[in-house]
């Protein structure tokens, strides 16, 4: 019997300091055991429990795309005990990975449709995975227009800056990067994500939109999308709750009868409106 509590072992191959406040680092991992790598199949959207003996476990969205073979990426904001401990690890360190856990973005439904991604702050992680996946050579032709609206408080707090620059150059992805407040070098958009979404005004026709970010951003973005004509079935969100087991047993992440760790974290707005307002 597979033991769902036993972490797979992985090595930290690369650590990237993402933000100038030095609070977010990306970690690129590879499994020690080739078999684990083969078994770790996923479609963008799930998370994994990262594990350091003595420090415990915590859930993090998978930021790499399944098309990036042999590499698992997590971008981690330093906020407490576990995240502090992982920030202190160096390249070469061994850590545990339990996953992939939870459901995924409905990429099958996105085929032959336009896709809009709206994201703020470090919630961009699994949407980086999704974007990478959709613009991969093997997949790009399956989707129509891809629009990405991504914001951070300041230019220095943007994740994946090199990649954003590359995406900027492509003509098969419509990228809008915005910051709440610019600096002298900033030439991009300035404004909150909801406002920029209104300005970009993606057409709702034949389009799915995925929204991930801090609660306040989500709260103000949803009405904008509804005004643009997006029906709740095509507005997709990824939720964060406090989690421990990640497998629907420990009892803390439920919203009504749904366990965010097992039945989520990805839900449509239509599904969420059927669930109690307790998140």
């Amino acid at each position: 019997m597979n033991n769902p509590y036993l972490p797979l072992q992985a090595r930290i191959d690369k650590v990237i300091m993402e933000t100038e406040d030095r609070n977010i680092k990306s970690f690129e991992l590879s499994f020690l055991n080739k078999k684990d790598e083969e078994n770790f199949q996923f479609v963008p959207g799930p998370f994994a429990e990262l594990s350091i003996p003595g420090k415990g476990e915590a859930p993090f969205g998978i930021a790499s795309s399944p098309t990036e073979k042999g590499m698992l990426k997590f971008s981690i904001n330093r906020t407490g005990l576990f995240t502090e401990a992982i920030h202190n690890l160096e390249e070469g360190a061994i850590i545990g990975v339990r996953g992939p856990l939870g459901n995924h973005y409905p990429v099958e439904a996105f085929e032959n449709k336009n896709v809009v991604i709206v994201s703020g702050g470090f919630a961009f992680t699994t949407l980086r995975s999704l974007t990478k996946y959709m613009i991969h050579d093997d997949n790009r032709s399956k989707y129509k227009n891809i629009t990405v609206i991504y914001g951070a408080r300041s230019p220095g707090l943007l994740l994946y800056k090199d990649e954003l620059r590359e995406w900027e150059k492509r003509d098969d992805i419509d990228l809008h990067v915005t910051v709440d407040a610019g600096d002298d070098d900033w030439k991009g958009k300035v404004g909150f994500v909801p406002a920029i979404t209104k300005e970009v005004a993606p057409s709702a026709e034949d389009t799915y939109v995925i929204v991930c970010g801090p609660p306040i951003m989500i709260k103000f973005t949803i009405p904008v999308l509804q005004e643009l004509g997006f029906p709740p079935e095509r507005i997709i969100l990824s939720l964060e709750m406090r989690m421990k087991c990640g497998i629907g047993m420990c009892g803390r992440c439920n919203i009504g009868s749904e366990y965010v760790c097992k039945d989520g974290p990805v839900f449509t707005l239509a599904q969420l409106s059927q669930m109690p307002d307790e998140y």
Binding site: P4, I247, M249, G251, I255, G256
Partner: protein, 339 residues
């Protein structure tokens, strides 16, 4: 259902005699309280009309359980606890506690993530429950789909006929246990009649008090009901109800290190505590006692039913009996029913 008879002292001898080749768990009086523990030589198994204070939960899902151990000086190495096929016998639990195992089966034997720690214990255990001739005033097992002689979750269900037990053979596991032991003999017509009288009397003694179907209908759109503003008011959030409850299964996962070695542990937790759902960001979806009491009731009588077609309450009455402020779940349910 096949029925056998065994003399009480023959059964006790059989159980204590088995302690060499298997673990036997049964109620024993310790410092005035009835507890379920592994029987050691000299222990006296006590079957009284009282139920044990703590439930059977500990025997299948310990309050503190090692998931694996690690050594900080050897990164990547983890040692699982030994999964053994050592047989276990659980004797003398009440039908409400046996029933709770069917609730646990839904949680820990799910098809997505079978839990090896639970399954190891569950599959290696024969559950011999004893029906309740004298249910107590806090019992409401008949309302929750069990009842004082329910066979759910048990392999054998015993009916106390004074000097002997009538043995109802519920599962194949129970059947082979009975077949292995010559002390069991076929039950006769007269014993079946005595059994009927006892069952009838006890069943009548458990008065219908709550109707989970009606409660469920109310709860289906009762999330925003104002009953929640009232019913939590007395609760001091101690969590006693959830620790003693045989169906509550919330847990936390923590690491405990001494020197360079340590263990990852699974320990009981409670939805009645504010930290249970506190986010790292500081947000908390269940901020006050109101949301937490709602979660406890909703989980047992709606969410669990939605997911498993069974209420997550066996009507054992422990939460009623031991709540320090006398919050009675039956009263809560009645209030919901008429809300």
């Amino acid at each position: 259902m096949k029925e056998m008879i065994i003399k009480k002292d023959a059964l006790m001898n059989l159980l204590t005699g088995r302690a060499d080749d298997c673990q036997v768990f049964a109620p024993v009086e310790v410092e005035g309280s009835l507890v379920i523990k592994e029987i050691q030589p000299g222990d006296e198994i006590t079957i009284s009309s009282m139920n044990t204070k703590a439930s059977i939960k500990e025997t299948f899902f310990p309050q503190r359980e090692r998931l694996f151990s690690y050594d900080l000086s050897k990164p990547g190495e983890m040692k699982e606890p030994p999964f053994s096929d050592r047989k276990r016998i659980v004797f003398g639990i009440r039908p409400c506690d046996a029933k709770s195992l069917t609730v646990f089966d839904c949680v820990f034997k799910g098809k997505d993530y079978p839990d090896p720690y639970y399954i190891d214990k569950r599959d290696n255990t024969i559950v011999i429950a004893v029906g309740c001739n004298e249910p107590s005033t806090t019992c409401f097992c008949s309302d929750t789909g069990a009842g004082p002689f329910s066979t759910d979750g048990a392999d054998l269900l015993l009916v106390d006929l004074d000097g002997s037990y009538l043995v109802r053979v519920v599962t194949e596991k129970g059947e082979s246990f009975v077949n292995e032991n010559t002390a069991f003999t076929e039950a006769g017509q007269q014993q079946a009649e005595t059994r009927d009288a006892i069952v009838d009397k006890a069943t009548k003694a458990v008065h219908a008090q709550v109707n989970p179907d009606k409660v469920k209908k109310k709860l289906d759109d009762g999330f925003d009901s104002n009953v929640w503003d009232i019913i939590h008011e007395k609760c001091i959030g101690c969590g006693t109800c959830t620790y003693l409850c045989p169906t509550c299964h919330c847990f936390d996962i923590v690491d405990e290190t001494t020197g360079t070695t340590g263990e990852r542990l699974r320990i009981w937790d409670s939805c009645m505590y504010p930290f249970f759902t506190l986010h790292a960001s500081g947000g908390n979806p269940r901020k006050t006692g109101k949301e937490r009491m709602r979660q406890r009731v909703m989980h047992k009588f709606k969410y669990f039913v939605d997911n498993n077609e069974m209420v997550a309450c066996t009507g054992c009455g422990r939460c009623v009996k031991y709540c320090p402020v006398n919050l009675d779940i039956r009263e809560i349910l009645k209030q919901i029913e008429v809300s």
